[in-house]
């Protein structure tokens, strides 16, 4: 807990204590305290109500829903049956495989590419503003625009990508329409759309590294790769690990990109993700219980990453 402060507000004795010695003063303090608290809670009430209705209550409800069944307008307790429904659904394992594949690919592309890009951009003395602007540009597009644009670019017949492959004398691809390449295509599009934020955060972190460290490494005869390994990465370790956790948390919840690019399921269900499955249970099959049960599984899995994230970011804050 925080140490007692000298602020005038905190100096007011808590109500009820010290009442014997100076009844008037403490009564005054009590009234002052009450009034201060009333106005403070007045400022809070709007946000607290919104949180109650749209965050806290749904959080509790998610747990309740997972163990309930609603049929013909009648809600009954279902025990673990929602969970077994979810676990016995063949789509369950496929959705997890797809989601992990997306997360894995997104880590290779979406985590590594922005870092390398930031490393390169940080070396430039010219046009850095322009390059930063370019990288962040797609982040500002409405997702429907970037996604449908990529659908157009990916088209096996008239798309630009196959044309480029043809010019390079490479074999043409079916992109989104082939179960082997569909997820990779989704990840490429998602990386293009979203890498701007991560790149800028890495750039800011790189600019915080003291130059003397590189000088010292040079005196020891370190080349570029060794400098990256022994100076850059250790110096940005906190940001790197935070971004890694954030990426994992975000990519395991991917929905919009596969939903829009491949209508959710993709060829042979190759892009069905866990969240798409939740969506299907809830909004196509009206089975809120199973949707909530699957949501809880996702929640339990991601809670570990969230906890690690919070611990790490606390540690980095030195408060």
């Amino acid at each position: 807990m925080s140490a007692p402060t000298l602020s005038p507000h905190k100096a007011a004795p808590p109500p009820g204590r010290g009442a014997g010695s100076r009844p008037n003063a403490s009564r005054e303090a009590f009234v002052r305290d009450l009034r201060r608290n009333l106005s403070a809670h007045g400022f809070l009430i709007g946000a607290v109500l919104c949180f109650s209705f749209f965050s806290w209550y749904p959080m509790v409800r998610e747990f309740i829903l997972a163990f309930q069944k609603t049929e013909g307008g009648e809600t009954t307790w279902a025990g673990w049956s929602n969970l077994t429904t979810v676990l016995n659904d063949p789509a369950f394992w496929q959705a997890w495989r797809n989601t992990l594949l997306f997360t894995g690919l997104a880590l290779v592309l979406g985590f590594a590419v922005p870092f390398v890009v930031a490393l390169v951009l940080n070396e430039f003395r010219h046009a850095q503003g322009y390059l930063r602007l370019l990288v962040y540009l797609p982040v500002m597009l409405p997702p429907v625009a970037s996604v449908l644009l990529f659908k157009y670019l990916y088209d096996p017949g008239y798309g630009l990508f196959n044309r480029v492959l043809e010019l390079l004398h490479l074999p043409q691809q079916q992109w989104l329409q082939d179960p082997d390449t569909s997820m990779l295509s989704v990840v490429i599009a998602a990386t293009w759309m979203n890498m701007g934020g991560a790149t800028l955060i890495y750039l800011a972190a790189l600019q915080g590294i003291p130059g003397e460290l590189y000088e010292a490494a040079e005196l020891d005869g370190a080349g570029v790769l060794r400098k990256i390994w022994y100076v850059t990465i250790p110096q940005t370790r906190l940001i790197l690990s935070l971004m890694l956790l954030m990426q994992i948390i975000a990519t395991m919840q991917v929905f919009t990109e596969p939903f829009l690019l491949t209508n959710g399921a993709g060829p042979e269900g190759s892009t069905t993700t866990v969240v798409y499955l939740i969506y299907q249970y809830a909004f196509n099959f009206n089975n809120y219980g199973s949707a909530a049960a699957l949501g809880l599984i996702l929640l339990v899995l991601l809670a570990g990453f969230s906890a690690a994230y919070v611990r790490l970011s606390r540690g980095g804050e030195d408060e």
Binding site: F51, L137, E212, F283
Partner: protein
Amino acid sequence: MTTRTLISPAQLARPRGKFLYWVVFVLVVGLFTLVFLGPLYWMVSGGLKTTQEVVQSPPTFLPKTVHPENYSRAWDVMDLSRLLFNTLYYAFGALAFQLILDVAAAYSLSKLRPVFGKAILAMMLVTLMIPATVLVVPQYLTVLDVPIVERNLLNSPWAIWLPSVTNAFNIFLLKRFFDSIPRELLDAASIDGASPLRTLRSVVLPISRPILGVVSIFAIVGVWKDFLWPMLTLPDPSKQTLNVGIYSLSNGVPENVLIAALTIASVPTLLIFLVFQRNIMSGLTAGGLKG
């Protein structure tokens, strides 16, 4: 003076270093322009092609004949004025709610320090740890029938505005900023007899302009980019946002008209970005480190 980076200035100053620097630089600038502006060019020019040309193989890099009327057709066919208006209406409404309620909450938690303030803040921050998609189903059910008041918010802007307030990250960001405002400044105002509201308005808010700018931009962009939530809560086509409306109409219109519509839909946020890029980028790195 520039900061020292990976490659030493001495190395760069040598002829070989200079040459390599410029080769890599030109390559990277060219590649980036191609990768990030190329698709945008493809979108703008695709919207100018005829229906046949846009689906012809191999594709043309320059439209053979220019058809700007695709854009006006897209505007009419997809009812873009309505979709744009809706999106703006939701975005600025969400902005207003977030600015009023989140700023008030952060101010209260930071400076007025009510009883249970710490617990309330902690409970708000806990929501950051729950994956957002897990809450979509119970949130949707709440919107269908809001407890106590027993109202159905489906197809109403409140379904966008009120949940947008529950942005714990905003409150956290604002609170941290308010925490850095010296106590003495507020005490001086309170000695002068200013009420908390008055102090907020005439002392705290003017100093907080930078952070308010960041929060505002992210509030607007957040609504502009959201897809799943508006798709679920605004099923009525006349109430939809750009993202949802264009998506649901995308199969029924010719490709070139669709691409023209995408271009139009991209213009507003790109404009916001080009005007406020400095604030957006600094806000991103200020907030990004923490969360």
